[in-house]
């Protein structure tokens, strides 16, 4: 049986692609943000081990970016249904 291509199917596919892009690009962004902070924190901790906790705090700050992307993906995939 040949699968039928429908407008709805294409729309759903595009939504899925969009959701993937949202999380993926946000992940790249967070990674770019974290690389500089990470390097700096490692440098500081090598000099002053007591800074580890605060360094971790700074390093984990940009991580929220991914969660934003993920939130958008989840809304696209689950909460926003054009056919409902």
């Amino acid at each position: 049986m040949v699968a039928e291509i429908t407008d709805g199917g294409i729309l759903y596919g595009l939504i899925a692609v969009g959701a993937g892009l949202a999380t993926g690009l946000a992940g790249i962004g967070a990674g770019v943000g974290e690389q500089g902070i990470g390097a700096a924190v490692v440098g500081v901790v090598a000099e002053e081990p007591g800074f580890l906790g605060k360094g971790l705090f700074l390093m984990l700050l940009p991580e929220t970016l991914i969660i934003f992307g993920l939130a958008v993906s989840l809304i696209l995939m689950f909460a926003w249904t054009p056919f409902a």
Partner: protein
């Protein structure tokens, strides 16, 4: 904590120090030296002798590779004193001699290996080693060249002797020419890519023979090393605890002897400043006066005087006082900052929230049990306080992972796998059940999310079973988004309330009511507004109410100490809440990998290797499938310890602590003068 001053005659300084050390209660404030009538105290007793002994002992420890550990045996002070001479004397000397011999051997072996290595390219030369150097009127060049040199050398110096051997790429040569031609020949040689090899002196015979002799020598020396290393190992096994006990004893003695350096003193009297838990004051006073025969004065400053020291920049030491179960979590607090004396110690909150978050993320009975068992085993191995705390934290967290695993219906991935294995029907979807093979996930019933839109239950109209709820199912994802946000509001809300409390404790009403409180209102009503929108769109009364409160809270921020700049923090507060979605997200990732592992093994690897069918797998298919299963689950388990640990940590540090903690820049930990005896018995 109370500020205490102990003053007395120098004649009684030793019994006072002895008593203070034994009580282990007074947090000594070092004498700053800015008072002209006082100087720094002088060490009492045999402080330099202890220091020397300590240096020797530490070097013995280093050679024996003894590091701090939990005690297996304890020793009385008498035992330690009687055996100290032996350990620092004959045993110690033997250890040091053995260790030095080992490093000598290492050195010799290295020299011999280097010589052998440098001679290797020359091995084919038909000359004895003693012929290669030591001439008065001849210049000798020994090394390798990249092209033949004999013809060119003859052009410069008619009198010459050239020996060469070896491959074309790197030919070994030994060129001998009269001394006065040395410069020209050297230039010629460098054109041919000459690189000199310095011939080790003192060796004789053929080059190849010398190389094999050097190598066999090195091997022999290596062999000599093994029994010496075994000797060190034996000594270590026999005396480890004793050596650590002696270390402890000498450290205590040396700490006592050097303590007057921290006190203010005059020629005939001393003054010790410090902080003491207030309820212990009477006891300490009595004990000290008893020890010094009444020739010491112990005074407690009243709070207004103590306040002056604090204003002068002195920190009141903080003693974190938590029940035993909660104590491991002090590790997380300490990693961030020690709470200040007046600040709230967040450790109990971490104890409540952290394991739940860990469990919510991991949420798998199988992984939880494995982590629990592994941690129990590690607890015996790693017995330093830091590791013990860490292991206890993960242990408590893994119990929550098991509890959530039961709720989520996960045992190494969604339970559907096991229904699949143990049923006769092999056409079950991994997320489905035997009864309803094509259903993905557990049905919550069509009306489950009715009145609340998609989030929240309607108990009466509820049709399907709620538990186990498979996390990969759409309805569960939506429910978990709600749960994550709810935990977020609770978590940050508690943080904000503590923030208000903290600011009030420091007497800053402005900050409390116009900086901390609006954050609480904003975050709570932001989520209430979202809920209202899901319930009934933009006109729902909850949306209107929360819109009003949000405007009020922003107004309060503008009125606050930061003025209009306070409003710039608003996006941060929103992102704080959204950040809690990671509780769901990372959990989904972990269950997703587990699901993929099962799918890969049972739906891809096994059917493919047995010819495509879903029944009757071949042996090899089962073996390959199990290998795939174990590998992927193992990787997922490692990630499943790391990320559920790091992310709740972040939620505490970034989302919660910023609301109330360490705004005044960390405190000083209460570390009383004294020492907890671990290897010494009383």
């Amino acid at each position: 904590m109370s500020r205490v001053v102990v003053a007395g005659s120098n004649k009684v300084i030793e019994p006072v120090i002895e008593k203070l050390h034994e009580l282990n209660l007074l947090h000594v404030v070092n004498y700053s030296g800015d008072d002209e009538s006082f100087g720094m105290g002088k060490p009492v007793g045999k402080s330099s002798e202890y220091a020397e002994q300590l240096i020797k002992l530490r070097s013995i420890e280093r050679y024996l590779e003894i590091t701090d550990k939990m005690p297996d045996k304890q020793f009385s002070t008498d035992q330690v004193i009687s055996q100290m001479g032996g350990v620092l004397g004959s045993i110690g000397d033997e250890v040091i001699a053995t260790a030095e011999r080992i490093s000598e051997i290492d050195n010799e072996v290295k020299i011999k290996q280097d010589q052998a290595k440098s001679l290797k390219p020359l091995a084919a030369l038909p000359l004895n080693l003693e012929l290669l150097y030591g001439y008065d009127s001849l210049a000798a060049f020994v090394g390798t060249v990249s092209s033949p040199v004999e013809a060119d050398v003859s052009k410069v110096s008619y009198v010459n002797e050239v020996f060469s051997a070896g491959s074309a790429a790197a030919t070994a040569v030994a060129v001998f020419v009269p001394g006065e031609k040395a410069g020209e020949v050297s230039a010629i040689l460098s054109e041919h890519g000459f690189s000199e090899i310095s011939v080790p002196r003192g060796l004789t015979g053929s080059i190849a023979g010398a190389i094999s002799a050097l190598e066999s020598d090195a091997k022999r020396l290596e062999g000599e090393k093994a029994p010496l290393q075994k000797k060190l190992k034996d000594i270590r096994a026999q005396h480890e605890d004793l050596i650590l006990a002696i270390d402890e004893y000498i450290s205590i003695q040396s700490q006592k002897a050097e303590s007057p350096l921290r006190f203010a003193s005059t020629e005939s009297a001393f003054v010790i400043d410090g902080w003491l838990p207030t309820d212990q004051f009477d006891m300490v006073k009595k004990e000290l006066e008893g020890a010094a025969g009444g020739r010491v004065q112990v005074e407690m400053l009243d709070s207004s005087e103590a306040e002056k020291f604090v204003e002068g920049g002195e920190d009141i030491p903080t003693k974190m006082n938590n029940p035993k179960v909660v104590r491991p979590f002090e590790l997380i607090t300490r990693l961030f900052a020690i709470p200040e004396y007046k600040e709230f110690d967040p450790t109990p909150l971490i104890f409540v929230f952290f394991p739940v978050m860990f469990g919510l993320i991991l949420g798998d009975v199988g992984y939880g049990i494995i982590i629990f068992v592994v941690m129990l085993l590690l607890r015996r191995k790693f017995r330093t306080p830091g590791w013990q705390s860490l292991i206890s934290i993960v242990l408590i967290s893994s119990i929550w992972a098991i509890i959530f695993g039961i709720l989520f219906g996960e045992f190494f991935g969604p339970l559907g796998l096991w229904a699949y294995i143990f049923s006769s029907s092999h056409h079950v979807g991994l997320l489905g059940t035997v009864a309803n093979p094509y259903a993905i996930g557990t049905s919550f019933g069509p009306e489950f999310y009715g009145p609340l839109g998609r989030i929240g239950p309607e108990i009466a109209g509820f049709a399907g079973p709620v538990f186990p709820m498979f996390r990969l199912e759409t309805a569960s994802v939506l429910l978990l988004i709600g749960i994550s946000l709810f935990i977020g509001v609770l978590h940050t809300g508690v943080g904000s309330i503590l923030g208000v409390k903290n600011e009030l404790a420091y007497g800053k009403k402005d900050h409390a009511y116009f900086e901390r409180l609006p954050v609480l209102l904003f975050q709570v009503f932001f989520v209430v507004g979202l809920l209202g929108m899901i319930l009934g769109g933009l006109t729902h009364p909850l949306v209107i109410l929360s819109g009003f409160v949000l405007v009020v809270s922003i107004g309060m921020m503008v009125k606050g100490p930061e003025g209009i700049m306070g409003v710039t923090h608003v996006p941060f507060f929103v992102s704080n809440l959204i950040s809690y979605l990671r509780l769901l997200a990372i959990g989904l990732a972990s269950v997703g990998v587990a699901f993929a592992a099962n799918q890969l093994a049972f739906y891809v690897a096994m059917p493919m290797l047995s010819g495509g069918g879903h029944d009757g797998f071949t042996t090899i298919a089962i073996v390959v499938g199990i290998v795939v299963l174990i590998t992927v689950h193992f990787i997922n388990l490692l990630l499943g310890i790391l990320s559920p640990f790091m992310h709740p940590l972040r939620l505490h540090y970034v989302e919660m602590f910023t609301k109330f903690y360490s705004g005044h820049g960390g405190g000083v930990e209460y570390s009383p003068f004294g020492r907890v005896r671990r290897f010494l018995r009383d």
